[in-house]
Symmetry: C2
């Protein structure tokens, strides 16, 4: 091994916070804390490189085994205990720790080093045999589950170890684990070991090094368990990063009543308020706090219960924020009155909290404006725009419980209790709220499709709260007054009972839970933008506005909107659009009964019939464009000519066909015959885009006439028109030339007829792979480019978005798709063609305006790519514009160009 494979921390510390890639987030920060002089129990980190090695070797590298022994010796020297010593045994925790935190996704083992001998020594040194045997049975249980695979099956509700424990309590007629004494626990341990053997998973090992190697292997292996893969997919974490393993001296929050364990945030992770926030449990071990079995106490209470520890924590909170200049989420343990730091990391937070913390830290001069912008996930802006409950409707609703406000916003939906049911109902189109006593990683799929999440147990660091923060879901957790019964499928509070399918409403900003459906209303930001609320009355608007201002002063990409109607255009301008990047003319044809004329045109048997129908459409299209131009108020607007396959416009159900027959005077049979003749095997690859206007130039003529006549009309009323006409699906430069010729001829005709000069440009969509390789040719004729990345993705990947469902699941499972390529642009594939096209086009026309109008234009990660690729603007749906304003600024800050 050339590289260092183990990094120690403690008295001598090898790593630091910058080494996340190699040591994982947890390992790097343990090292950093040790360097800072914070009380970190000594231990060592096995690098992520060893994880990658493990995936190939399916075993621990021989050299790693040797290095582990050396590192253990160093810890032993610091602590004065020996690993496996029957008299005074050194115990370890073994924890995963990836580059990015993946809470609850991978495995952890505590109390490692106990066996039938050492447990006796441990009992002696702690003077508490009950405690020692409890640690031992916990260890066997965890080891049995994680390393030997003897755990609860996902569909089997009860953990088999828990079953043994429960039986022991029943036999003794007691309620709590703590009521079992050392002898009881010894018997439990015997049964635990028997269970493992019965399940044919080998024998629980007595050799402590064998224990350790088993645990390390299991942690490495858990990198590829199903939920870890699902998590990586959602958050785009590459599978080749791997996880590090942290082996650390055990400290015990459950050693006595002067012991405790807790989780704290340097600020409120739900709303961002600058307050010390967190929770703890007296006499408890690590996972108890997060697991939600006992509801922990809020951190403030520690001041009374353990004033010394509380004082130290406040000092540590200050140190951490000053040092890391970001909100920290840390774990601590008090062992017999002595405080230890077990972990710190940048705290996950809701969108609202991210925004408030970033803005506050600028005010506090902890970070500068640019850092603040980079620290707010662009999607967070959505949390300032989501609807809130309508106060009138809310005041009438019955509040049935109050929990912790863990994910701000208002959510209303039908009650469901399981992830499977959640997925079913969501698929059927229902809005749902997932209601669980507590959530676990198995619920992830269900949480993804829910409007909001409600739990009756667990605090702000519970799984539900954590995931909700990360997903930006509305969440109320630990609403302990509610009884959630999975068997009966009910939520009960006194006389109130909600069943599966009933409506429930939750306010994640206040923690309130309501029976029934509550109307929502626009967020404060929307109210200010709509003019129904004064700007200075809203703190939320102030934050929104601050970020938008900073973003605009940093970004280099322009932002346009995809809008097909004057209404949509108005929303776009309200959110700060600088123009319309895509106005789809096809949607206009569906308005009112004009679809009849459209259908008549499509069903025409010859040019004459077609022209007759087009003549009817002309005044309607003109009217649409007049509306658009007026709404633009002089901003540029790109109008795209008719794009979709004509067959899409035709009716398929008998009543509509009959009505059409009457309307256009063509027999039902004839309509069906012609409609069948127009059907295509692969409409996406068929007669659409500019192919329509080339085969039927009269369509382009009609559209151009409508556009130019509308422009002339609007210009005559002294409104500026910045017109850009876009030709879809160009692959050959001659296609573009053909359409340009038709449009210019019409333009000249309308201009001279109206004695007016309409300035306009004609550009090309770049949405088929051929166009990207011939970009230099097309650029010579085009006055602008606009990437249609939806089609470009479909063609480059050879995948129809509509038909992807059949293999999408397999593709994400096998990590062929690490992200949905229709959500975030496939940089390695489609992106290569985008870059090629930009490069080739700019070589012949350096000043060519190039933008993107596919849905990727609204996706922050894709926006970053478009910035790097040198585009001039992105165009997205109106309600994505605030998010994209921030995303473009972040792109500019990350990649100066």
């Amino acid at each position: 091994m050339d590289e260092k494979i183990i990094y120690e921390f403690g008295k001598k510390t090898d790593g630091n916070a910058s080494m996340r890639a190699l040591l994982g987030g947890k390992g790097a920060n343990l090292a950093e804390m040790a360097q800072l002089g914070l009380p970190v129990p000594p231990g060592f980190t096995i690098t992520t490189a060893m994880c990658t090695d493990y995936q190939v070797r399916k075993a621990i590298h021989p050299e790693l085994k040797v290095a582990i022994k050396t590192a253990i010796a160093h810890v032993e020297a610091q602590i004065g205990k020996k690993f496996g010593d029957v008299n005074n045994p050194l115990l370890f925790s073994v924890r995963s720790g990836a580059r990015e935190s993946m809470p609850g996704m991978m495995d952890t083992i505590l109390n490692l080093g106990l066996n039938d001998q050492t447990v006796e020594g441990f009992a002696k040194t702690t003077g508490d045999p009950r405690f020692a045997y409890d640690c031992y049975r916990r260890f066997i249980q965890m080891y049995g589950d994680v390393v030997l695979g003897v755990g609860a099956d996902s569909d089997e509700e009860n953990d088999p170890f828990d079953a043994i424990l429960t039986e022991a309590k029943q036999k003794k007629h007691v309620q709590f684990d703590t009521e079992l004494d050392a002898e009881d626990l010894k018997q439990v341990i015997v049964e635990f070991k028997a269970l493992i053997q019965k399940k044919n998973r080998g024998i629980f090992p007595q050799d402590v090094f064998q224990q350790l190697e088993g645990a390390i292997g299991a942690v490495f292996g858990s990198w590829n368990n199903e939920r870890a893969i699902l998590y990586r997919q959602k958050y785009n974490i590459p599978s080749d990063w791997g996880t590090a393993v942290n082996v650390q001296t055990m400290v015990f929050g459950n050693a006595s009543n002067t012991s405790a364990t807790g989780v704290a945030f340097t600020r409120n992770p739900a709303n961002g308020t600058n307050e010390f926030y967190g929770e703890y449990l007296i006499n408890a071990q690590g996972e108890d706090v997060v697991a939600g079995i006992r509801t922990p106490h809020p951190i403030a209470q520690l001041e009374q219960e353990m004033p010394e520890a509380h004082k130290s924590l406040l000092e540590i909170r200050r140190k951490l924020e000053t040092h890391f200049t970001d909100m920290q989420d840390f774990e601590f343990t008090v062992e017999n009155g002595r405080l230890f730091m077990l972990q710190t990391r940048n705290g996950k937070r809701t969108g609202l909290a991210a925004i408030r913390i970033a803005l506050d830290m600028v005010k506090e001069k902890l970070i500068d404006q640019k850092t603040a912008l980079l620290r707010i996930p662009a999607e967070s802006i959505a949390s300032l725009l989501v609807p809130v409950f309508d106060p009138v409707s809310e005041s009438k609703a019955k509040c049935i419980a109050k929990g912790l406000p863990a994910g701000p916003g208002a959510a209303c939906g039908k009650v469901v209790f399981t992830a499977d049911r959640a997925e079913e109902m969501a698929k059927a189109g229902y809005k749902i709220v997932l209601c669980r006593a507590e959530t676990s990683p198995e619920d992830l799929r269900g949480m993804l499709v829910s409007e909001g999440i409600l739990t009756s147990r667990g605090g702000v660091s519970s799984h539900a709260a954590l995931v909700a923060r990360q997903m930006g879901k509305v969440c109320v957790c630990g609403a302990g007054d509610l009884t959630i019964d999975y068997q009966k499928k009910t939520i009960t509070r006194d006389s109130v009972q909600l069943k599966e399918g009933d409506f429930i409403s939750i306010n994640g900003s206040t923690g309130e839970v309501f029976e029934g459906e509550i109307q929502t209303m626009p967020s404060e930001v929307m109210q200010v933008l709509n003019g129904t609320l004064a700007a200075d009355k809203s703190e939320t608007y102030r934050m929104f506005n601050q970020i938008m201002e900073w973003s605009d002063s940093n970004r280099q990409l322009s932002i346009r909107a995809n809008a097909d109607t004057p209404q949509q255009a108005a929303v776009a301008f309200m959110f700060g659009a600088e123009g319309i990047g895509l106005c789809r003319t096809e949607h206009m044809f569906f308005n009112g009964n004009r679809i009849d004329s459209m259908r008549e045109m499509i069903l025409a048997d010859n040019e004459e019939q077609r022209r007759k129908a087009l003549d009817k459409l002309l005044p309607l299209q003109r009217e649409d464009f007049v509306g658009i131009f007026k709404a633009m108020k002089g901003h540029p607007v790109i109008i795209r000519l008719l794009d979709p396959p004509l067959h899409e416009f035709l009716p398929h159900d008998e009543p509509t066909i009959a009505a059409l027959s009457k309307a256009i005077g063509l027999s039902v049979d004839e309509i069906k015959r012609r409609s069948n003749a127009l059907a295509e095997q692969n409409p996406m690859l068929g007669h659409r885009g500019c192919r329509l206007g080339i085969a039927y130039p009269e369509i382009t003529e009609m559209q151009a006439t409508a556009i130019f006549e509308a422009a002339a009309e609007v210009m005559k009323s002294s409104i500026t028109v910045q017109l850009e006409i876009m030709i879809p699906l160009v692959g050959f430069v001659r296609e573009l030339k053909n359409q340009i010729e038709i449009i210019r001829a019409i333009g000249n005709k309308v201009c001279s007829k109206n004695l007016i000069n309409i300035p306009y440009r004609i550009g090309s969509m770049i949405e088929n792979p051929r166009a990207t390789v011939r970009a230099h040719e097309i650029a010579k004729e085009a006055e602008f480019f606009s990437f249609g990345t939806n089609d470009l993705t479909q063609l480059t990947l050879g995948i129809s978005r509509d038909d992807m469902g059949k293999f999408y699941r397999a593709y994400t499972q096998h990590e062929i798709f690490t992200v949905n390529p229709f959500t975030t642009i496939d940089i390695a594939g489609v992106g290569e063609l985008v870059k090629l096209a930009v490069e080739r086009a700019r070589k012949v026309k350096p000043t060519l305006e190039i933008g993107v109008c596919g849905e990727h234009g609204g996706d922050p990660k894709s926006v970053e790519f478009f910035h790097e690729a040198g585009l001039d603007y992105v165009s997205c749906s109106p309600n994505r514009i605030p998010i994209v304003r921030l995303a473009t600024a972040q792109a500019a800050l990350k990649h100066h160009r």
Copy 2:
């Protein structure tokens, strides 16, 4: 003008044969002949650059007008006549002449310079007023048609000028034009001029310079007439080449009975025999010979009629072949006993003739082997392989006429008389023979879709013969005993009458025309290859074999075949395939009733059901592969895993569904429900290719098992197996990895079970654009690449071959497609991606074997591209292999690598 725009020929000659691009073929060769001292009437050539200029300017460049006057002055000085001189006028012909000969596609004007005054001087100097006025009326007629657009409409059978002429003859009760005297013709001229005015096409110009400019403009304009565009498309002539214009002193083959005009070939263009070949007419003007109005005399007869001229022609024939070292097609005119050369060019020839001439010229040491190979169009090889009439069947058939053998081969089909009807019948699936009195460019479309062409008028230089030679069509022309009546739609010979739709058979090698249907049999080459004819008995086989031998010693690309059955494989090897480049497993599933198991597998609701059905398919697939491996005899074979969307295999008609229901025990309703669930919006972009084996790994497992077990079985009988397994539609390297893992696991299992080592390689199809940009990644995992250019074309262009029909015609009309991109690879678009992929792949794996298995692998032009792109082999359908052997050699000779 910086460039020279006019090149003179005559006493002083500016150009030569190498200047085709600038002077066109005709102009360059007129110059060359003049340089050689052959008797060329003086004149000048206007460059093709001026044609391009004309297309933009829509008028003649002012400087060209000046240059024309200078050039005319030089001709006047040589000839001693003046242009427009009322006493002794100089007359010109004005002819088009493109870089590649486009016979009959563009316009020609003769006798230019005649007007109401000069015609009188011309009458005096020739001493033949009838002749002079006949020239004048011909000139007006041509000028009226070509320049002023007063001609026969395509659907109007009679030329309006001809109508006047016919009326004049009827009035005078005479039959032939020659029976009209000068006074009659003067009256005809008056009426001609009146017709022009009546049709509102301006006035026939009296100014000779105006005449000349009009004629030049019309020739330039004819470059873009519809039939010229159609022709260019068929022969891939770029529209920007333009045509030159040749202005040449008129000589008159119709001046007297010691005058003549003719067309000759230095060798027989129909079968390639080394004999002087051609035809002439006494007292006739240029176009008369080609037009087929009078049937000309064979050239041999000239020895009797004009021994001097004949002797000179023999000498010229020798000079031309020695000089141009290729078969020449030339035009000559004898004016009052004096011979003039009007044109020479490389003669168009049938495939058979091309082959024989090339081989003979090597023997005669005129050209070397490599030149010979390059001179044979690769497609010509097909003419050695086309079926011939079965002698038994032929001997029973009634021969009803004999014409000239103008296009070798045997054709049999239904009689049709018009191009429109030909297109209709061909579309309906009938084999047809187009029967015309004579053909014109309007018939081109009809000729394209016919099995063969029969004319009752015209000789070997007639339009029909010319086009047939070029298209490789079977053709008999000038079968003068037949009366073809368009109105009655009959062909009559004595008592025999054939109606439209009746069968007719023509032998283009002998000129025989038969009533009814004659059976065909394999060509001599096929008979030798099949072993039913001794090689030394067949001259055709000797030629075939010679070319194949030379080709193989020159080519650098390997050749494989696309073959799915042992039978196809056998044909491929007979033709010289070096392996199987594509064995599609899907076709196997349609054999017999195994389709039921396939359908059962497709309709399976879960993995268990699917495995059950796959188990039934396994032995059948194994059997198929055993057959294939045996047929291979140790040659490499690439087996592609299941590719098409599963829905394609399902039945859609009620009876088949009912039968399937019985066979697999699934209700009709359930079959329909599941079938509907499998339907896709764009199946080409849906669940197919490797996506099948990734979502349903059990399919890949079954196929891999069948392949390896078959290989093991065959290897045990001591037959070598060179196995290559190919994964379709890979876009992401992880797709390939996924399938490789499954296949290798099965491979190991089968090998160890059978105690045998099966050598095999796993490769990737490169057929989606993403694969081309990620080729460097995919190459790391793949052991070979094979371009699937059908899919790659569909995706790169965004065009489905199945749905292209709706706009294909518009796309060829507008020259967006200059060639069908599914026939010849789109080098500028798809080709760019192919080159990119090769470059990227070879960078990481320089020795990677790369081939192509799309249908483009059988297209000579595409093959040339694949050679240049650095591929290792092409794979094509078995019957294309001989053609591809020559094409690969030509590619290697053109582009040494």
